[in-house]
């Protein structure tokens, strides 16, 4: 599992890889929060539950990341771990259940970066490769 930053005109492009689809979603979540803070400085005392349903995988990724950004802002928390993440497909619907663990933002303790305004659809794609999964997306900062 890994993520890296891509060169991008005005905002931040991210590329994420993982062996599994669940791992890909978890790593993509981490990638987004890595823009906002040094994740090594983030504990995991608090958590929120997320449950989503979409008709296609890319839309699900968009919704998942958008929901994380929105909840992070609402709760003033940053999340760095996503245990119990499950993705299931049934009847042309894909559902995601996950718990995001993190802690309340504290500028005195955490090394903070830049606020993410929104996840965008620009260049957003998920690909299944021989050795796992990869996705790319851009966040508006």
């Amino acid at each position: 599992m890994s993520y890296r930053y891509l060169d991008h005109g005005a905002d931040i492009g991210l590329e994420v890889q993982s062996d599994t689809l669940e791992g890909l979603f978890a790593e993509a979540g981490k990638a987004v929060f890595s823009v906002m803070a040094d994740l090594d400085s983030i504990g995991s005392r608090q958590s929120v539950e997320i449950s989503l349903e979409e008709s296609d995988m890319e839309k699900l990724l968009y919704e998942w990341l958008s929901e994380l950004v929105s909840l992070s802002n609402l709760q003033s928390q940053i999340y760095g771990r996503f245990p119990e993440l499950k993705i299931e497909e049934a009847d042309s619907q894909i559902s995601l259940k996950a718990r995001a663990r993190g802690e309340r933002i504290n500028p005195r303790v955490h090394e903070l970066g830049t606020e993410v305004k929104a996840v965008t659809y620009q260049g957003l794609e998920i690909e299944e490769e021989d050795n796992g999964w990869q996705c790319r997306f851009v966040v508006d900062v």
Partner: protein
């Protein structure tokens, strides 16, 4: 997309046309210099799947667009619309396009003047910088001093700047010098989701992060003495610029309506050229709901900048005892909006929905929307620079009214990705180098400072010089930063 014709027709040294081909309903018009025109064409021809020229062409294909899909001198790729993009739609059969406004609804600039000169400020500079850093909530996780309930947020969304004024932030005289007098009509809070409102509970009076800032600046050059006098600006004067927007509420509205307008695009059979170029007919329930929510975002940004203006005044009062009444609003204008306006098209006046994405309203002389004291010279166009270079005050002209629906540039635009900037610059070094140049920087994030390093931006002087020479938005004054507060 690759079969598109990217040959531009030169109209004059500052204007290029993308001829109407394929599905385009109007031509594209680029108000850029030759270098920028060539750069845009090269980028599109290289097959970059994200480029501004394709976005101008996509916008030109939207139903009801009038006259031209416009790109200004600071144009670069955005989400659906290019940034530095302008498009006006016929009131009757045109569209409301969320990508034409973007996620940071009514992001904009407030400019305030002070009676101080740069020399007078010098000895108390550090004290002012420290005080402003204390009183201006900025950066990730910062919270405003106004804690709001849902009911109060609903007032913010209807009342705009007046809400903050009634809470004791700023002066009544401010309102006349804000677009729409700080409150746009047709904003119904019911069209905004509960989540969007909840995200704003503690965000009124916060700066945010990224390219947002509060700067204490010096008017270091005047180009148009007449207009400068009308705006109350003089050489060596100390002024305050605040660049921020509608914060989380605006971001959430942008997110919420992307999905709603995707459904509407399908319902009304409007082709989706790019995922973020979704829309709805202006008069459809979906279009009306988006415009109403977007106006709530506009009012939220007005309230935010009004609160920050109040805090800046309080900060200067605490630091050096400056009377708050002596700090006056020169102007406040947004650069991510869609507004109904009347413009002349083919010799006839029409009501249009003008989208400005990363573009400042630049009304020339005579427009009734301007404060009466600016009506003769044209409205101020506030252009944000980088913390190491300069910001500018330009003015709207007859030419901008005729050619760009009264629109001008909004900033310099980046030349280097954030990733590259972070690997090339260190926040601490940026801070030290600026200090050497006489600019005191107070930032909540060193990585953020590196991303915003002046070297990561295009030369704002060049962009301004281009729009000055073309006569679209002539320069009035240059503002050099002295103190920078960033998220």
């Amino acid at each position: 997309m690759r079969e598109r014709n990217y040959e531009l027709e030169k109209i004059d040294d500052h204007t290029w046309e993308i001829p109407k081909t394929g599905g385009m309903r109007v031509p594209g018009r680029l108000h850029v210099d030759e270098d920028t025109a060539n750069h845009l064409v090269d980028e599109a021809k290289s097959g970059a799947d994200w480029n501004a020229l394709d976005q101008v062409i996509n916008v030109a294909s939207l139903r009801g667009i009038v006259k031209a899909s416009i790109g200004l001198a600071d144009i670069h790729p955005g989400y659906g619309f290019p940034i530095g993009g302008v498009a006006a739609f016929d009131r009757k059969d045109g569209l409301a396009v969320a990508g034409g406004v973007g996620f940071d609804i009514n992001c904009g600039v407030r400019l305030l003047s002070t009676p101080l000169s740069a020399v007078e400020l010098k000895e108390s500079k550090e004290r002012i910088a420290n005080t402003l850093y204390e009183v201006i909530p900025a950066g990730l996780g910062s919270e405003g001093k106004i804690d709001l309930s849902i009911k109060e947020i609903n007032h913010v969304l209807k009342e705009g700047a007046r809400f903050s004024l009634d809470r004791g932030y700023g002066l009544p005289g401010d309102l006349e010098y804000i677009e729409e007098n700080g409150s746009i009509e047709g904003a119904n809070p019911e069209d905004v989701s509960r989540r969007a409102k909840q995200r704003q509970f503690k965000q009124i009076g916060t700066l945010g992060s990224g390219n947002h800032y509060l700067e204490i600046q010096e008017v270091d050059e005047i180009y148009d003495p007449g207009a400068a006098e009308a705006y109350g600006l003089s050489e060596n004067q100390v002024v305050i610029s605040i660049h921020t927007g509608s914060r989380a509420l605006g971001h959430q509205i942008g997110q919420d309506y992307l999905e709603k307008l995707e459904d509407a695009s399908e319902k009304y059979d409007l082709p989706i050229k790019e995922k973020e170029l979704v829309s709805a007919p202006i008069d459809s329930p979906e279009g009306q709901a988006y415009l109403s929510a977007m106006r709530c975002g506009i009012n939220c940004a007005f309230a935010n900048r009004q609160a920050l203006s109040g805090l800046a005044r309080q900060g200067l009062n605490t630091a050096i005892g400056l009377d708050e009444k002596e700090v006056k609003t020169v102007y406040e204008v947004g650069h991510n909006t869609a507004k109904f306006e009347r413009h002349e098209v083919n010799g006839r006046e029409k009501e249009l929905l003008v989208h400005r994405k990363g573009s400042t309203r630049a009304f020339g002389p005579g427009r009734k929307e301007l404060p009466s004291s600016y009506r003769e010279v044209g409205g101020p166009v506030l252009v944000g620079g980088t913390m190491g270079t300069a910001s500018y005050v330009l003015r709207g002209s007859r030419k901008s009214l005729e050619e760009t629906f009264g629109s001008g540039i909004h900033g310099a635009g980046r030349s280097m990705s954030r990733k590259k900037a972070k690997s090339k610059f260190w926040g601490e070094d940026v801070e030290k180098r600026l200090e050497k140049d006489g600019i005191t920087v107070k930032s909540h994030s060193y990585p953020g400072l590196a991303e915003e390093a002046p070297g990561a931006y295009k030369d704002v002087n060049r962009v301004v010089s281009s729009v000055h020479r073309s006569g679209l938005t002539p320069a009035v004054a240059r503002l050099k930063p002295l103190i920078v507060v960033k998220g």
